[in-house]
C-alpha cells in the first residue's frame, strides 16, 4: 500500500472523537502559536510602528542588533543575575531541604512558611523589596547601621543593583526548590547510606557521593528554570530601577518592551525576541548537556 493510501486508511479507522477533542488545541495552536511564530519571522525583516505601513528593511534589524551595545549589555546583565541567583538558589534550597529532611517537628509548618513568597505576586514582592533596599529608609540598611556597618547602595550602585535583584529573586523562589529537593532527598534509598556508613564514609563523603549526584535531576531543573526565569526578568527591573542605574539592570525583556512600546520599533523588538529566544535555547541545551555529563562521571 502506498504511504498516502496507508495514511488515508489510518484516518478512516480513527476515532472522530479524537479529532473533535483535539480541535480546540489545533485552533489555538494555529492562532496563537503558529501564526505569531510565522509573523515574527516576517516582522524581523521589516520596520513598523503599527500606524504607518510596514517597511521592508531586509537585514537592517540584524545589523543594528549586532552593533547595539544595549543588547550586549542586557545579555551581560542577565549573566550577572544568573551567576549570583543560581548558586545562591541551590545553596539555600539544598541547605534548608537537608535541615528539613532530618528528624524534626513541624516540617510542614516550616515548609509552608518557606513557600509563602512563591505564591505572592511578584509585584507585591518587588514593592516590598524596593523599601527593604531603600538607601535612606530601608530595613536592610537600618540593620547594617545597627550592627555598626555602613549603608549599602543596593539599587543605586551600578555594580550592586543586579546582584541585589538576584538576591530578591532567590528569596522569592527558593521555596519551590526546597520542596523539590525535599522530594528528591526522600527518594534516595536508605540502603545507599547504610552501605556507605558501614564502609566508614564520613557524612561529608556521603553527601558528595550519594546525595549530591542523586539530586542531579532536581539541580538540572533549578538551573534550567532559573535560567529561563533570568531571561524573562521584567517587572523587577521595571519597578525597582527602570533599567538603571546606567543600564546595569536592563534585562532582555525590558529592552524588548521599551523598543516596542516606548519607541515603537516593532520590527526591531521582534528581532530582539528571536535572538533572545535562540540564546535561551542554546544556553539551556548546553546546561543540560554539561550537568548530565557531570553526573555520569
Amino acid at each position: 500500500m502506498s504511504r498516502r493510501a496507508a495514511l488515508l486508511a489510518a484516518i478512516r479507522r480513527s476515532d472522530t472523537n479524537g479529532y473533535i477533542f483535539v480541535l480546540p488545541y489545533v485552533i489555538f495552536f494555529l492562532a496563537f502559536v503558529a501564526y505569531p511564530l510565522v509573523f515574527s519571522f516576517v516582522l524581523m525583516f521589516h520596520r513598523w510602528n503599527l500606524v504607518s505601513p510596514m517597511e521592508w528593511v531586509g537585514s537592517k534589524n540584524f545589523i543594528r542588533l549586532v552593533q547595539d551595545p544595549l543588547f550586549f549589555k542586557s545579555l551581560f546583565n542577565t549573566l550577572t543575575f544568573l551567576a549570583i541567583h543560581i548558586p545562591l538558589q541551590i545553596f539555600a534550597a539544598l541547605g534548608f531541604a537537608l535541615l528539613l529532611n532530618t528528624r524534626i517537628r513541624g516540617r510542614g509548618f516550616f515548609r509552608g512558611i518557606y513557600f509563602l513568597p512563591v505564591v505572592v505576586s511578584g509585584v507585591a514582592v518587588t514593592i516590598l523589596w524596593q523599601q527593604l533596599f531603600s538607601f535612606d529608609y530601608g530595613v536592610l540598611n537600618s540593620l547594617l547601621r545597627l550592627a555598626g556597618l555602613g549603608r549599602v547602595p543596593w539599587l543605586i550602585d551600578a555594580n550592586i543593583a543586579m546582584p541585589s535583584i538576584a538576591v530578591m529573586a532567590t528569596w522569592k523562589n527558593v521555596g519551590i526548590y526546597i520542596v523539590l529537593f525535599l522530594a528528591g532527598l526522600q527518594g534516595i534509598p536508605r540502603e545507599l547510606y547504610e552501605a556507605a556508613r558501614i564502609d566508614g564514609a564520613s557524612p561529608l563523603r556521603q553527601f558528595l557521593y550519594i546525595t549530591f549526584p542523586m539530586l542531579n535531576p532536581t539541580i538540572i531543573i533549578i538551573v534550567v528554570l532559573s535560567t529561563i526565569g533570568g531571561f524573562s526578568l521584567f517587572i523587577e527591573p521595571y519597578v525597582l530601577t527602570g533599567g538603571g542605574p546606567m543600564q546595569s539592570t536592563l534585562s532582555g525583556m525590558l529592552y524588548i518592551y521599551n523598543q516596542a512600546f516606548y519607541f515603537g520599533h516593532m520590527g526591531y523588538a521582534a528581532t530582539l525576541g528571536f535572538v533572545y529566544a535562540a540564546v535561551i535555547f542554546l544556553v539551556v541545551t548546553v546546561q543540560r548537556r554539561v550537568i548530565e555529563r557531570d553526573i555520569a562521571t
Partner: protein, 430 residues
Amino acid sequence: MRAGILAVVLIYGCGDGNGPRNEAGGTIELTYWPAPNAQEVELADSLVREWNILHPGVHVVMQPIPVNQSTEEVLLAAIAGKTTPDVCSNINPIALRDYVASGGLIPLDQFPDFDSVVTQRIPRELLGLFMTPDGHYYQVPWKTNPVMMFYNLRLLRAAGVSGIPNTYAQYFALGDRVLEKLNGPEKAHIWVGERDIRPIWWQRMFDFYPFYLAASGGQPLFRNDSVAFGNSSAEEVFAFFRTCYARGYFPRTSFYQSVDPFMLEEKVTHIAGPWQVAAIRKFAPALDYSVEPLPVPDGRKGPVYTFGDFKNVAIFTTTKHPREAWAFVRFLLSARYDRLLLHLCDQIPVRGDLLTNPLFAEYFKNNPKMVRFAEQVPFTRGMDSAPDMKEIFDGISQEYEMCAVYGTKPPAQAVRDAVERARMITEWNR
C-alpha cells in the same frame, strides 16, 4: 423616478468647490481638539463659542483629547483609523514627521493667505524652523514655553552674590558662595540647583538641551538628518552639569514632592518655563525671584538661545472643509486669542510683537516676570523633527547619567558615545 432622485442628489452633491455640504444648504461642522489640560480647554471653549456666534454657517465642536494617553499616541491612532478631527492645536513638532509620513496632515501653505498670516505673526527668525524637508508647512506655531533660569534673589543676597550669573564660571562662583555661606552643620541644606537624575528622555529638555542651545547659539542637533552635535558645545554642557554634581551644587537624588523645593526656598536656582510663574503666584506669592536667560560657556557672545516646548496647529487630511478649517485656524491665531492665551493660561504665543502690541500691554504690566519669556521667544528653538528623537534623547540621557550625574565618563567620551548611538539610530532609519 430613479433618474430624478439621482439628478437631485447629483446637483446637491456637487458643491461649489468647497466640498459637499452635510445637509442641502445646511451648516458645516468642524471638530477641534485642544490639549487636555483645564486652562486650555477653558480657552478653547470661549474660542469655539465666539466663533460659533460669529460664523453661523460653520459650527465648530470641541472635543478634548483623552487624558490617559499621550497626544502623539492618540493622534497617530486616529490617523490610522481615519478618525482625526479637522483641527488640532496640540501638535508637537517632534511627532510631525510621523504625522506627515502617515499622510495625516494637509500642507497649510496651499492657502493663498498663508504667507501673510504667518509673516505678520511670527518672528522672522523662527519662520523656517517649522518647515518639513519637502518644503511645505504642515504646522503653524501657536505657543511656546521657553526654558529659563529662575533665581531666588533673597538667597542670592544672603550668600553675598551681587549679580546674576551669565557664564558658567560666574554660576560656579555663585555655587561656591551658596555652599559656603548658606550651608553648615546647624542649617537645613540649601541646594544651588537640582535636576531630575532619572535618565528619562524628556528630562533632558530641562537641562542638556536648553543649555546646548544656549552654548551653541541655537544650533540644531541634526542637520539634513545627520547627527550634528558632536562638538565642543555639547562637551561644555556635559562638563557644566558634571561639575554641578561633583561639587555638590545639585543633589544626587530626585525629589518627588508635589511642591518644588524652589518654592520652599530650599533651592537657589531653578530651570523651568512660564508655568512656574503661575505656580509661584499660587503657592509662594511672597517669593522674591527673577527670571533670566541661561548661563553660557565663558567667552560665548551673542544672544542666549534656549529650548521652548512648541505647540502648533495643524489641519488633518480627513477634513471635508479645508478652507473653513483654515479660517478657524486664523481665528485661533488672532491677536485677540493670543491675549486670552496669556491671560487664561499664562502661556506665551509665538508672536514677534508681544512687547510692542498694545493689546498685550496690560498683561505684561501685571506680570513683569513674563516679559523675560516674551523677550526670549525669537531665540527659542524646538525639538528637531528627525525620526526617533525620543530614542535619540534616551541615548543622550544615558550618557548624561553616566557623565554628569555619576561622573564615570569624561564629557568628550560621553558626547562621542551619544553621537554614536544617535548615528546608529539614524542609519537604521534610512
